[in-house]
């Protein structure tokens, strides 16, 4: 029998969208419609009009509401703890909000409508706290609701929350943002159909035409006739867009204007821009005051970009990817890529000197000035425990310094090794290969008083800041980061201010039907980001900490451990002395009088007495302590599986080997 016969939930670094990490098993399914008379074709059957509050509610093949501050309801629709797919047609004419459903205190994500208008088939997912479906409006709300459908939704997709952008290493080994692109918005972006779909502005005597599937714009140098070019009105205000334009040739200067943001183009090639739309059109053509240009363009693409809440499938180190979950961190370096903005001693900076780890020509070159002196750039820091990091690649010089006035490290960029310390050794250091000769070098240190963070060029001989330069030779750098904490996290780009990346949160409620509470196995293939730090847990629970199974890393040791807590009492647990900076396969089996912990093919601990959970107790999977927040998991996960039976020893050995 295959282990897959017993598994009920499988989550791997697989498909995703903003806010969701797709589970592999089970395939998502919908139950039957739980709403009686959801199309209101049978009068008030099933419904209680004006169940709360004030205003006029009526049914005329739909549910109408006029000047209401309350709701109408259908009782016993939901089962608390499950997840439901809600679909509804609505018209919201006026008022503060239309809420479907409102339980008196909680606002359903996706179910609070504040923008007036009408939508058919509006769909979202909801985990109820009440059995009642209350359709509610306030602010003297007016409108109607029809075709209300509520179906139980069974899936293991995990909700992802991280309301900021975040970077990872993609499948090509490049450091970039985890993002989801929308569909193509440009009509005829490859100009295979002439100027179809494009608006044009062509003053007399100027040329805007398509020939050989290329856009050709020729603006006469002797005239100043105003706007000349092509446009499409395809943007929605406040949304973020990725614009890619392939330019075959250009003489002079022209612009690609995305909303109100102007990108000046002077060279051919593929250009990519990210912008928030502050206007609705994209325009390609003459830049104001340009006295003449000629451009030939192969294609243009515009797609909406979503970066918030996108789970990070990280390929650091190559091979199979993992789900990356990190703590909140702030990059205290205010210019992480523009090293010209740093204070400089004996260094000049040449921007955009080399292709950086993000795949674009934006790495800086630190060049040592002529003569023997300190060759560093720096910014001030205050007392704290930090990890400082920078991507570096050897140039004519082959040494890197990362230091403060009291501690630091010299790295050999040729052998990609730690050479020696500056003044006193840092607490720790780390070197990670990012390909193409780029490595990320980091040191962790504690600064007891205000000082400076220095990044410098070194000759692999000097143990001070001083070397001898010639005004030409240097090293390449990219992505400096200073973060409070004892290990480096993913790169946070900054350009003028410190920037915070929020914590990654993963949860899945309403999966009670997928978990056999009295017995089962929780299996994880995971690794820690660091052996230090707080407890970091992955938990099956009932939404509280009194009934839960968790596997985690322990406070400040990184030791792998597990607990089974039933009715508030610990019935089984074991704390190993095993840390897991490399991936480990870990399984916890729970069953009355039969609990065990397996790691990498070995049975580590057994507990042969103790009760287990009652049926239908466990219903949520969370990467935290199990009650919504606290002790969030920070680490890397390649596999997460939940089995509905207590597997045999041989099966557990196979699973964890």
């Amino acid at each position: 029998m295959s282990l897959l016969d017993d598994v009920s939930i499988v989550v791997t670094p697989n498909g995703y969208k903003a806010g969701t990490l797709y589970g592999v098993i089970p395939t998502a399914t919908e139950g039957s419609n739980q709403v009686i008379n959801g199309d209101f074709s049978n009068g008030t059957t099933g419904w209680q009009l004006q169940y709360t509050g004030t205003g006029d509610w009526s049914i005329t093949d739909k549910l109408n509401f006029v000047n209401v501050n309350g709701g109408s309801a259908q009782l016993n629709v939901f089962e608390v703890g499950k997840i439901y797919k809600i679909t509804v047609d609505y018209v919201f004419t006026s008022g503060t909000r239309l809420i479907l459903p409102y339980d008196g205190s909680n606002f359903p994500t996706g179910g609070v409508i504040t923008t007036t208008g009408s939508v058919n088939g509006y769909t979202y997912y909801y985990t109820p706290n009440s059995t009642t479906l209350l359709i509610y409006s306030d602010g003297n709300g007016n409108g109607s609701v029809d075709n209300v459908s509520v179906k139980e939704w069974t899936a293991s997709d995990m909700d992802v929350t991280r309301a900021t952008a975040a970077t990872r290493v993609d499948e090509n080994g490049l450091v970039n943002f985890a993002e989801v692109l929308g569909s193509e918005l440009v009509t005829n972006g490859d100009y295979t159909n002439g100027l179809t779909g494009w608006g044009t502005q062509i003053p007399s005597g100027q040329i805007v035409e398509v020939t050989s599937n290329q856009l050709h714009i020729d603006y006469d140098t002797s005239q100043t006739q105003g706007s000349t070019g092509v446009f499409q009105t395809i943007l929605t205000l406040t949304k973020t867009y990725k614009t890619t334009i392939d330019i075959a040739s250009v003489t002079g200067t022209f612009k690609v204007q995305v909303g109100n943001v102007i990108h000046t183009i002077t060279t051919p090639g593929v250009k990519t821009f990210y912008n928030v739309a502050s206007d609705t059109a994209i325009f390609i053509g003459r830049k104001s005051n340009a006295q003449g240009f000629e451009a030939t363009i192969n294609s243009v693409s515009v797609k909406e970009v979503t970066r918030d809440n996108v789970p990070r499938i990280d390929y650091t180190g190559g091979g199979c990817p993992h789900i990356l979950a990190e703590p909140q961190r702030t990059n205290l370096v205010t210019y992480s890529e523009n090293f010209n903005q740093w204070n400089k001693i004996g260094i000049t900076v040449t921007s955009n000197s080399l292709i950086s780890p993000d795949g674009t020509q934006n790495a800086g070159k630190l060049v040592a000035t002529s003569g023997a002196s300190s060759k560093v750039i720096y910014q001030s820091i205050s007392a704290n425990t930090y990890t400082a990091s920078v991507f570096a690649k050897k140039g004519e010089f082959e040494g890197l310094l990362i230091a403060t006035g009291t501690t630091g490290a010299f790295f050999n960029l040729n052998t990609n090794t730690y050479r020696t310390h500056y003044t006193s050794p840092p607490t720790s250091y780390k070197i990670v290969n990012y390909g193409n000769g780029w490595y990320r070098y980091s040191i962790t240190f504690t600064q007891s008083s205000s000082d400076n963070l220095y990044i410098g060029i070194n000759d692999n001989v000097s143990t001070t800041f001083a070397i001898t330069g010639n005004g030409t030779n240097g090293i390449y750098t990219f992505g400096a980061q200073l973060e409070a904490g004892s290990f480096a996290t993913s790169y946070i780009s900054t350009s003028g201010s410190t920037v915070t990346r929020n914590q990654d949160l993963f949860t899945r409620d309403g999966i009670g039907s997928l978990i056999n509470s009295p017995e089962g196995v929780l299996f994880l293939e995971m690794a820690a980001l660091s052996n230090s730090g707080n407890y970091r847990l992955i938990t099956l629970s009932d939404g509280n900490t009194s009934n839960r199974v968790f596997i985690g890393f322990r406070l400040d040791t990184g030791y792998i451990y597990y607990f089974v807590i039933v009715g508030g009492s610990t019935v089984a647990s074991h704390i190993t002395s095993t840390t897991s900076l490399d991936f480990s396969k870990i399984a916890v089996k729970w069953k009355a009088n039969d609990f065990a912990l397996w790691i990498d093919g070995s049975e580590i601990s057994t507990v042969t007495s103790g009760s287990s959970f009652s049926a239908n107790t466990l219903n949520t999977l969370q990467m935290n302590e199990g009650d919504g927040s606290g002790f969030e998991f920070h680490g890397k996960v390649k596999q997460l599986q939940i089995f509905k039976n207590a597997l045999s020893d041989s099966e557990l050995a196979t699973l964890t080997t």
Binding site: T161, A163, T164, A165, A166, F177, T238, K239, T240, V261, H263, K271, T272, F273, Y274, N275, V276, V305, R307, D308, Q328, T330, T334, N343, I345, T360, N362, S374, V376, Y378, S380, S382, G405, N452, Y454, I492, S493, S495, G496, S497, T498, V499, T500, R501, N502, Q503, N534, Y535, T545, L555, E625, S629, G630, F631
Partner: protein, 119 residues
């Protein structure tokens, strides 16, 4: 998303106000006490003191004159909920901190991610 820029006389006052407004709570479990975000809080960033006039340094990077700081300490709060912070809420025009994916000076309610990069 809502982003608030906040100023308090000191960290104790700021922590107490954010706690009283339910942006986080102090939870003790497994023998560890920690601050846990609540009620829509996505992040609380304690910025601390902000330099008004930078320090000056000599050619070797040694401090000549110390920095001058603005009064009090500062926080950035990112949340899905709306709060009234009264006079503790400030509206700076050149912020020293931002959230990844949001423009440098983003503050206020219903904020969307801003321009991220350009070439």
């Amino acid at each position: 998303m809502n982003i608030y820029k906040l100023q308090y006389t000191d960290k104790a006052t700021g922590d107490a106000d954010l706690l009283s407004k339910g942006t986080y709570e102090v939870v003790t479990d497994e023998g560890v006490t920690q601050d846990v975000y609540r009620n829509g809080t996505q992040a609380i960033v304690y910025i601390g003191k902000i330099v008004e006039i930078p320090a000056t340094y000599d050619d070797e990077g040694h401090e000549i004159t110390p920095p001058v700081y603005y009064d009090g300490v500062f926080y950035d709060l990112m949340t899905t909920e709306e709060f009234d912070f009264g006079t503790n809420e400030i509206f700076p025009t050149d912020c020293v901190h931002s959230f990844a994916g949001y423009e440098k000076n983003a503050e206020g309610t219903d904020i969307d991610p801003e321009e991220l990069e350009e070439i």
